[in-house]
C-alpha cells in the first residue's frame, strides 16, 4: 500500500512535474490537482509547488490563494492534512494565513539561483521526520520573493515553539529575518520553505545531490504507517 500525494497546478506553476516526480521516486502515487477543482481526488497529502502562479503579479501567491482548490486545502489543512509549500507554494501558504508572516522581494532585488545549504531545525514535522534534528542539507534555491518577514512577536513565538523548520547556513540569500528558510504550523502538518527539495532527488540531475528526497520519504512513511 502506498499513499497518494497530490500536486496542485495553478496557472503559472512551474515545478509541478518535478514535485510529482519526487513523490513517485519516493514511492508514492503522485496525483495532479487542478486549481479550478475543489476536489482533491482523495489524496492523503498535498504539495504546492514552485513557480510563478498568476505571474506572481500583485504579490507572489496573492491571486492563487483565492482559487477553488485552495478553499478545500485550507479547510483540510486545518483539519490536519499534510501540506508542503515549496517556494511559490510557501508564498501561497502565507497569503492564505496557514503559516504566519509574509514573503517579500529579496533584499538584493535580484532573482537568485544557487545551491543552498540549510539546517533542518525541526525534524518532527510531517515532512521532515526522515532527517536528523540539526542535519545539514544542500538543495537548490531559486526565487525573486524569498525574504521571509514577520513581526518580532511572531518570530519569537516561532523560535520558542520550534516552528522554524529550516535555516539558511553559510549565507542568507535573500535577507530573510533570522535566516529563516522554512517554517511549520503548530501541528507540524503544514510546512513551507523557499528552497526546492524536489530539485534534489536524483543523482546527476541539477546539483547532483539527493538531499531533498527526505521530504517525500518522510511523508510517505507517516502516511503509510498511519
Amino acid at each position: 500500500m502506498t499513499a497518494r500525494i497530490g500536486v496542485v497546478t495553478f496557472p503559472g506553476t512551474l515545478d509541478d512535474q518535478d514535485a510529482l516526480r519526487a513523490a513517485r521516486l519516493a514511492g508514492a502515487e503522485a496525483v495532479s490537482l487542478w486549481h479550478r477543482d475543489k476536489d482533491l481526488k482523495q489524496v492523503d497529502a498535498v504539495v504546492l509547488a514552485g513557480g510563478f502562479s498568476y505571474g506572481d503579479y500583485l504579490r507572489a501567491g496573492a491571486i492563487s490563494r483565492f482559487s477553488p482548490v485552495m478553499e478545500t486545502i485550507i479547510e483540510q489543512a486545518k483539519a490536519g492534512m499534510p501540506v508542503l509549500g515549496i517556494c511559490n507554494g510557501f508564498q501561497i501558504l502565507t497569503e492564505a494565513h496557514l503559516l504566519p508572516g509574509a514573503m517579500l522581494r529579496n533584499n538584493h532585488l535580484h532573482f537568485i539561483c544557487r545551491d543552498q545549504k540549510l539546517r533542518v531545525e525541526n525534524a518532527g514535522t510531517a515532512w521532515t521526520s526522515d532527517y536528523e534534528q540539526g542535519e545539514e542539507i544542500q538543495v537548490p534555491l531559486k526565487n525573486m520573493d524569498g525574504r521571509y518577514v514577520a513581526d518580532e512577536r511572531v518570530l519569537d513565538e516561532l523560535e520558542a515553539e520550534g516552528r522554524v523548520a529550516f535555516r539558511y547556513l553559510d549565507m542568507n540569500p535573500n535577507g530573510s529575518l533570522r535566516d529563516i528558510a522554512g517554517i511549520t504550523n503548530e501541528a507540524g502538518n503544514v510546512v513551507g520553505l523557499m528552497p526546492h527539495p524536489e530539485h534534489a532527488v536524483e543523482p546527476l540531475v541539477g546539483t547532483g545531490r539527493t538531499d531533498g528526497l527526505g521530504f517525500f520519504t518522510s511523508i510517505l512513511k507517516k502516511l503509510v504507517t498511519a
Binding site: 500583485l58 497569503e95 508572516g101 517579500l104 529579496n106 532585488l109 518577514v149
Partner: protein, 83 residues
C-alpha cells in the same frame, strides 16, 4: 465612471530595499537632500457607476483582503476624479 486609487505601502517597520536602492542611487546621480525613499504600489481602479459609500466600502474590503497584504502593508483608498 470614476477613478478610485488605492495606494499600498510597506509598513514603516518593514525593510524596503527597493526604496533604499533608489535612495542610495540618488546622490550618485547628483540629487541631494532626499532623506528617505519608500517605494510602494499604486492601483488605479476605473469603477462603473457611482462611487457611493457602499462602493467605497467594497473597495476598502478589496484592498484589505486582496490588494494589500496587511501583514506587511498599509493602504489608503482615495476617490480621485470623475469623468
Amino acid at each position: 465612471m470614476a477613478r478610485v486609487v488605492v495606494d499600498v505601502m510597506l509598513k514603516p517597520e518593514i525593510l524596503d530595499p527597493q526604496g533604499q536602492a533608489v535612495q542610495r542611487a540618488l546622490p550618485r546621480l547628483g540629487f541631494d537632500g532626499i532623506a528617505d525613499v519608500r517605494q510602494g504600489k499604486r492601483f488605479e481602479l476605473e469603477v462603473d457607476g457611482d462611487v457611493d459609500e457602499a462602493a467605497l466600502a467594497r473597495i476598502h474590503e478589496m484592498a484589505e483582503t486582496f490588494l494589500a497584504n496587511t501583514v506587511i502593508e498599509d493602504f489608503v483608498v482615495k476617490v480621485e476624479e470623475s469623468k
